[in-house]
Structure formats: C-alpha cells, structure tokens
C-alpha cells in the first residue's frame, strides 16, 4: 500500500503545529471546542506515530532524525521543540483534572443531544465520563510514560528533569483513573431467547435457514457455555453485579458482552482512593462502538512495548490483567457470534442488526473490525482474513468509498452526519444524549491494512492493497484545504456533493484516526515482505545456473592466474561475481525478486566470457 507514511505523518505534524501553536502558546481548540478526549487526540496525532513508528521517534534526541525534528520546528528550533512539547504534555495533564486533583474524563463538547438545541445539555451531563475518554487516555498515558522514561535518561537540564518527574506522576494517576473507568464500564447483557433482543440475535446468526431461529439460538446459547462461565466468575468479583451473575447461571439464556458508553449504573467508581466518586449513569448494555473503542485502548495495555518498558505499577498491572481477560472474553464472544454456523457467516450478511433491532453497515464494520483486531493480535488466520477482506471490500462499496453515490444516497449518512447512537441512561440528568460516530472510512482503512498484512498469497492480497489505496485517496480528498487547518481532517465535501457549511477548523477526532492508519501501514511495512513461493523457486533455478557457469568459467581459467584478475574493464573480477552470488544466495528466500535481478547481472557477465569460447568450440567441431 502506498501511503507514504513518513512524508504524510511529518506533513500532518507540521500542519497541526501551524494550527495549534501560535505566539508561544498552545491552542487546544478544534471545530467543536475542546474536551478531555479531543485534546488527547490532538496530542496523539504527534505522539502516537512517534511512539509506534520507531524511525519517527522523538523521545531520544540522539536517535531523532533531522527531518523529524524539522517537522516540529514550529515549536522551537532543534531540541527546543522537544522542551516545548514536554510543556504541552504537562499542560494537558494539569488541565484535565477535577478541583480535588483527580483526573477528569468528561466528554464535554463531544456529547450531542436529540434536542435540536445543543445548549439544552445540562452542565452535569457535560461532566459525564465516556469510554472514548478512558480509551484515548490509556493510549496517551502509555505513550507519555514511555516518552518520559526515555527522555529522562537523556536530559541534561534540571528544569526539564523536574518537569518530567511531575509529568510522570500526573500521567500515571490519569492512567489508573482510566483503567478504573474502563473496568466499571464493562457490561454483560443477559436475555432470553424469546425476548426482543433474543429474536434479533437469533435472526442474525441463523444463516442457513434449515432450522428455525429459536433452535439456532439454543445452539448459540450452548456454544457460549465457556464464555458464560468465565464471565460469571470474573463478574462475581465485582460489587453490585449480583443480578448479572445470577442470570449467567442459566445456560439457556443468550448474552452479549462488551462496553457501555460509560460507567454502568450498577457499578461504583471511586477515584484515587480519596473517596471522590464518579457518577455512574450508563445503562448496563454493551455498545458495538464503545466496545471497539475500549478494545483498541486495552490492546495498548498488553502490547510488547508496555511490557518491555515496564510502564505499569502493581495496581495498574492487576487492573490490566482484569481488562485483558475481559478483552479476550469479549473478542471470543464476538468471533463466535459473527462467524456462527456452517454456512455464510452472520457478518457476511450485511447490514448487521444489533440486539435492539437497529441495523447499519457501520455495525458490520465494527464487528468485522473486532475480528480483524483479534486475528492481528494473534497473528493468525489467513483464510479467515481473506473472508473478512471481502466484507471490508463490500463495506467500501456500500459506504460509497469505491462506488459513486446515486442521487440522495442515504449511505452518505455513514460519513456525514455520521451514525448516531443514544447514550441510554444519560437522560437522567437532562435531555436524551447522543453520540455521533463518523470514523467509518478511517476504521475501514486501518482494518483493511491489517487484514492485507495477514494474507500471504499475492493474489488474495492484491485486492486488499488496491482497496487500501482507494480508501486512502478517499481520505486524502477529505483533507481541509482552507487556511489554518490545511492538510488536516475532515471535510467530507471534498468527496461528496453536500450542502451546508464548509469546515475551516480541523477535527482531532478524524486527524488522529488518520494517523492511526499511517501507523498501521508503517507496521505492515516493517514486517518482512510477503514472499511468493513461485518466485523463490525461480530464484533457486537462476542461482543453480549462475553458480554452475561460474564454476565452469573458473575451471577454464577465464580470469587468468592465481591473482584471479583479468584485464581491467573487460569483465567483472572474480571476487565481484563471487560476492554477488553469495548475496543472491542469502536473499533468495526472503527477497527472491532481488536475488533474480542480481543473478541476471551475473549471468550477463558470465556470458561475455563464455560466448567466444562457444564459437571456437563450434568451429573446432566443424
């Protein structure tokens, strides 16, 4: 896939700093204002690639490349840029704290309302914490902790060292808060086969039509046995969830698990052990979107990087294990449901219908996304990846990325205004709250890149590579072009014929997700390139021929005496050919194409030596 990761990422950094850093101060605003999530997204536009693409790292001045430092020069010349960036990180951690010093995860300006007038949302509602914030904070805090750790060993300034110390304390505290919030937002929804959610789920998983929905539902319930018992023993440890535990004991019931939009009503969430408690209002129902968001954040907790650097303290380590268990249970559950049965997978039957009966291609994308994530983490499942790749291709078509819209095409709604979900339970504090999901294209691209990297055969991978390129050019078309936000995201008017106002300011939500795509692409390049078995065979044949002729020519003494040289400029010296053959032998299994090219050069050289003799041999014969 040709995403030009390095150039594009550095371009984004330059544009972002141009927009956000003026006259020595950092501006947190984007088009929707500022809140704990969007501010984190803004920082992650820089920090996420810098953390996850080793050649773009900024935490070690000795290894930071000149062009990388140059991309940050809007902040300050040379190392000054890193000093200022450290100050900005510290500002974030200090800015998003409650009066008592505990970290603040409120969603603020990201909340929407069913009411026409957004101002109807009450101040209490604006303070509600949302899983998006926990997830972004986990990713941000882990990045910051690694940054602090590395830079701390390199700084020679006491002031910087003190700042890093403070940054580390605040970040670690925020990470703890985010993990606690994440645990409290985990939700298990148990229901009867004959109930409305039961009917919806059974209809979704029954793809063969050789038995009725209920029978298939019973089969599903049985197959969830292990997941159910693991959930039961895990939930039993949590206060206030006894009714769920009880319901899980019934093997004939169905369930779904994942994350609700915030801490669920039955949970209790205390912060920092200082007694300040967080209000828990979310209904105990998993949302596909928030589940996906949570799974993304939790994945960072048990990434090799987090473990190698030892970024978690003991308490965090314990919570991390609990979250990891939920992560795995949730993944297993969705994989079971999405691929249930022997015929067509439920997920291949677009669009996905959620248990509340709402259908959307976006939901299909979210479920597919979870499955790709699972395969990607486990680094397995080529055949499944090929099938998921086809779903992604279809979604790109239905989502109008690879197809043109018809007049008044409602699928544009997936992008603008986006898919809206109601945050059930939030109305206890004011009007009904909503959340708008607009990450269709970026999620699709990220998962396409990951799926492509799982597919080994070139013929199966090629359509996914093409798809990735198409989504990326769709995304490039959605970049802002106006002054200020130029080069950042998102303006769907660039690719769709839409009325309404033109955006000038960027959205960190979209820009950060575009950066995630670049990071995924970089990860797929750094993995060893996929190799075709056919080409390896070819390289071996070439090698055999070249080595044979080479030895023959040596035997004939084509290079003269023991010195192994011949008249300069006529043919390559014997050592050069020998070295090239060695190199080709080394490369034939990992980069057979390169090996073949090298061998072609060698064969050409050898032919120069062999040709005159073959003529003289022929003449002798005559």
């Amino acid at each position: 896939m040709s995403l030009q990761v390095r150039e594009q990422t550095l371009d984004i950094w330059r544009s972002l700093i141009d927009f956000s850093y003026r006259d020595g101060s950092w501006s947190w605003e984007d088009r929707q204002g500022s809140n704990s999530i969007s501010d984190a997204e803004q920082l992650l536009c820089i920090l996420y690639p810098a953390t996850n693409i080793p050649v773009l790292r900024i935490d070690d001045p000795d290894e930071t490349a000149p062009d990388v430092l140059w991309a940050l020069h809007g902040l300050g010349n040379d190392l000054d840029a890193l000093r200022v960036f450290t100050d900005v990180l510290l500002e974030y951690m200090e800015r998003h704290r409650l009066p008592d010093g505990a970290p603040d995860f409120s969603a603020g300006s990201y909340l929407g309302s069913c009411e026409i007038d957004r101002t109807a949302i009450t101040p209490e509602q604006l303070r509600l914490e949302v899983v998006d914030s926990y997830s972004m904070s986990i990713t941000l805090c882990l990045s910051v902790l690694g940054y602090v750790q590395k830079l701390g060993t390199k700084t020679t300034s006491r002031r910087t060292a003190e700042k890093l110390g403070r940054l580390k304390d605040l970040t670690s505290r925020r990470l703890t808060g985010a993990m606690e919030g994440m645990l409290s937002s985990f939700s298990v929804h148990v229901f009867d086969i004959g109930s409305e959610p039961g009917d919806n789920l059974c209809a979704m998983v029954n793809q063969t039509n050789d038995s009725n929905d209920r029978v298939v539902g019973e089969r599903l319930a049985r197959s969830l046995k292990e997941i159910r018992s693991s959930l039961r023993s895990e939930i039993a440890l949590t206060r206030g969830r006894s009714s769920v535990v009880e319901a899980l004991e019934n093997d004939r019931k169905l369930l779904e698990c994942g994350w609700s939009w915030g801490p669920v009503q039955s949970s209790s969430l205390e912060r920092d052990g200082n007694g300040s408690s967080v209000s828990c209002f979310a209904e105990d129902l998993p949302y596909l979107y928030f589940t996906g968001v949570a799974l993304d954040g939790i994945e960072d907790l048990f990434s090799p990087r987090t473990q190698v650097l030892g970024l978690l303290d003991d308490h965090q380590q314990r919570m991390s294990s609990a979250l990891q268990l939920r992560w795995r249970l949730c993944m297993n559950y969705w994989q079971r449901v999405a691929t249930f049965g022997t015929g067509r997978w439920p997920i291949e039957d677009l669009p996905w219908r959620a248990t509340d009966g709402v259908e959307s291609d976006h939901f299909t994308l979210l479920v597919t996304s979870m499955m790709v994530q699972k395969l990607h983490v486990e680094k397995a499942g080529t055949s499944q990846a090929v099938r998921l790749g086809k779903v992604l291709q279809e979604l790109a078509g239905r989502g109008l990325i690879t197809r043109r819209p018809v007049a008044g095409d409602s699928a544009i709604g997936l992008h603008e205004p986006g898919t809206r979900v109601v945050l059930r339970g939030g109305a206890a504090l004011g009007p009904e709250l909503t959340w708008t999901i607009t990450s269709f294209s970026t999620t699709l691209l990220k998962r396409t890149i990951q799926t492509a990297s799982l597919v080994r055969e070139a013929q199966d991978r090629d359509p996914l590579v093409t798809l990735g390129n198409e989504i990326w050019s769709h995304l490039l078309g959605r970049r802002l072009e106006e002054r200020g936000g130029r080069g950042l995201w998102d303006d769907p008017r660039g690719v769709f014929d839409l009325k309404g106002r033109k955006w000038e300011a960027p959205s960190w939500y979209h820009t950060q997700r575009a950066c995630e795509c670049l990071v995924s692409a970089a990860a797929s390049y750094t993995a060893s390139s996929p190799v075709s078995a056919q080409l390896i065979r070819l390289a071996n044949e070439f090698l055999a021929e070249a080595e044979h002729i080479f030895e023959q020519e040596r035997l004939f003494g084509s290079w003269g005496g023991a010195s192994g040289t011949t008249a300069p400029g006529t043919v390559a010296p014997v050592q050069a050919i020998s070295a090239t053959l060695d190199r080709a032998r080394d490369l034939r299994n990992t980069r057979p194409g390169t090996a073949v090219t090298l061998l072609q050069g060698v064969l050409k050289e050898l032919e120069v030596l062999a040709r005159p003799r073959s003529r003289s041999l022929t003449e002798d014969a005559l």
Binding site: P61, A65, P66, L79
Partner: protein, 303 residues
C-alpha cells in the same frame, strides 16, 4: 564567564573553534579574550594571525611566566589591531584580547603558589571580560588540575564552563567520554579539588568538530551505497555518543567539516565570509550559535 576548552586528543579543532567563538562574541559587542594555557604548544598566534607570535611570545611575560611567578603581569594583545587579518575594530564590537603562551614552554608541576596566581588571574578575567576562553592542552594535563584547584572555592558553577571538543569519529567519542568520566578525568579531578560532581557535569558540554553530516553535507560525489553506509555509521555514532553521555542534550554545538579550516586554522572573519568568500556559511553559523549558547541560559540548558 570563563570557558575552559579541552579535548582528549590533539587535532580536534579545539583552539581554532575556541578562537572563532571569542571572535564572534567580540563582534556581538561583548568584551572577550582568548587565553593560551596550552603550555606545550602555544598556537593562538597562528590562529589569530599575529605574525610575531607564531609559536608563542618571546617577551618572557606569557601565561606560563605569569603562573610560575617570573612575571608580575601577563602580556596581552588587543587583537583588532595586533592581528594581521582582522583589520581594526568594527563599530559596536567589544574588545578582543589575546593572552599568549611563552615560546618554548612546557608542562610544569603546580604548587600552592601557582594555584594562587592562577586564581588571581582568572578572577581578573572574570572582572574584565564578559567571555574568556581558556585554551587547555589536549589530554589530562596539569593545567586542568590547576584551573580546577584555582576555582575550587568560587562556589557554584555559574561563572565557569567546560567545553570538551571531539571529532565525530568512534575513537574520538570514546576518548572524550574517558576524559570526562574515567579515572583522572575532569569529573574525578574536580571532585578531588572540592568541586561538586553534579555541578561540574551541569557546567560541562561537548562540541562536535569536523562533522560530516550525511543529511546535510554535499555528498554528490559519492555513490548511493557509500552515502547509505555513511548514514548508517552516523546513526551508530549518534547512538554510541548517547550511551556514553555525549548525546545531543550534552552537545552545545556541532561544527561541520570545513576544508578551509582543515588547510589553514584561522579565524573565519566577516571578510572571509563576504569578500573573499572562502568561508562556509554553515561553519560560521555554527561558531555564531556556540558563542551565543555560551552566554544564554536557555541555549545552554536546552533539554
């Protein structure tokens, strides 16, 4: 501000860089001086193009004579007029003074009297000049111990700085690390003289000289493979320097490889830059940045 310039090996461009820093500082309006404490081989006369001082002064009043007590005051030259190539003091410039070494001098052992004389001399420099660069000889010399003992009771490091010069090669990086951190190195000697180790380290920076940066240098004559190889070595060296505590955050400045300085150790004057145009802009810029980073707190601390 007194800056002690030192290097582990010879030929690092320590003196020529030090001289250029002093010149840039004087141009910027600060009274500045260059003190030749390289007793074995005084070279400052050559660098500043003072013909009579080619290999040190013969007046018997050089820096060594002063320290040994054979002369009451040290000879000093106003370089704007004494130098054959500087061509008079430009308006707005500060004083530019050279304290030359004695011709035929050598290393000598130190006693309490030399230390006392040295302390008095350095104290006078501090009063008279905004920036004094004291050029110490290469390696672990008596001069290092002398100035450390002389400044031991000055309290704090606000008035003195150390610049360790090294070329951008593996050997030189390792040697510079040794000069700073290993036995009888600067830190250990300083501690032995009663300085605080951490404060000394805070007041110490390195200067990389003769650096061929594959990212910026004009390498058009090299093959792709050669450039690629150079990049790798440069990267390795950066990592090594970081591991040895000589990384970017410890580095005050980077002076590029400059053919003019290579052939002729000299002050890159404004004339050489704008009239005869033999000076490279990049090199002059590096000297300029070094001169200002020395006097600017933020420039010194960086990160």
């Amino acid at each position: 501000m007194i800056v002690f310039a030192i290097s582990d090996k010879g030929g690092t461009g320590r003196s020529v860089t030090g001289g250029n820093i002093v010149y840039r500082s004087a141009l910027a309006g600060h009274d500045s001086c260059f003190v030749d404490f390289d007793f074995g081989s005084p070279t400052a006369g050559t660098i500043f193009d003072v013909h009579a001082l080619g290999r040190g002064t013969e007046s018997g009043r050089g820096t060594q004579s002063l320290l040994l007590g054979s002369s009451e005051a040290s000879e000093s030259l106003e370089l704007w007029t004494a130098s054959d190539s500087l061509g008079g003091r430009p308006p707005g410039a500060g004083r530019l003074v050279l304290f030359p070494g004695d011709k035929g001098g050598s290393e000598f052992s130190i006693d309490t009297n030399t230390v006392r004389r040295c302390a008095r001399f350095l104290g006078r420099l501090l009063e008279e000049y905004e920036l004094s660069v004291v050029d110490l000889s290469a390696g672990r010399s008596y001069a290092v111990r002398l100035v450390l003992e002389a400044t031991a009771d000055w309290g704090g490091s606000a008035q003195t700085r150390w610049l360790v010069f090294h070329r951008w090669t593996r050997q030189h990086v390792v040697a510079a690390h040794g000069l700073i951190h290993e036995a009888r190195g600067i830190l250990q000697t300083a501690e032995g003289c009663g300085h605080d180790r951490n404060e000394t380290l805070d007041s110490l920076r390195t200067v990389r000289t003769a650096v061929m940066d594959p990212a910026t240098a004009d390498l058009s004559g090299l093959s792709g493979t050669q450039i690629s190889w150079l990049r790798e070595r440069h990267h390795d060296l950066q990592i090594l320097a970081g591991e040895l505590g000589l990384g970017r955050t410890r580095t005050l400045g980077i002076v590029p490889l400059d053919p003019i300085l290579h052939w002729h150790e000299q002050i890159l004057t404004e004339k050489a830059l704008y009239e005869s145009r033999i000076a490279s802009v990049g090199t002059v810029q590096a000297f300029q940045e070094l001169a200002s980073a020395l006097v600017d707190r933020a420039g010194w601390e960086k990160l």
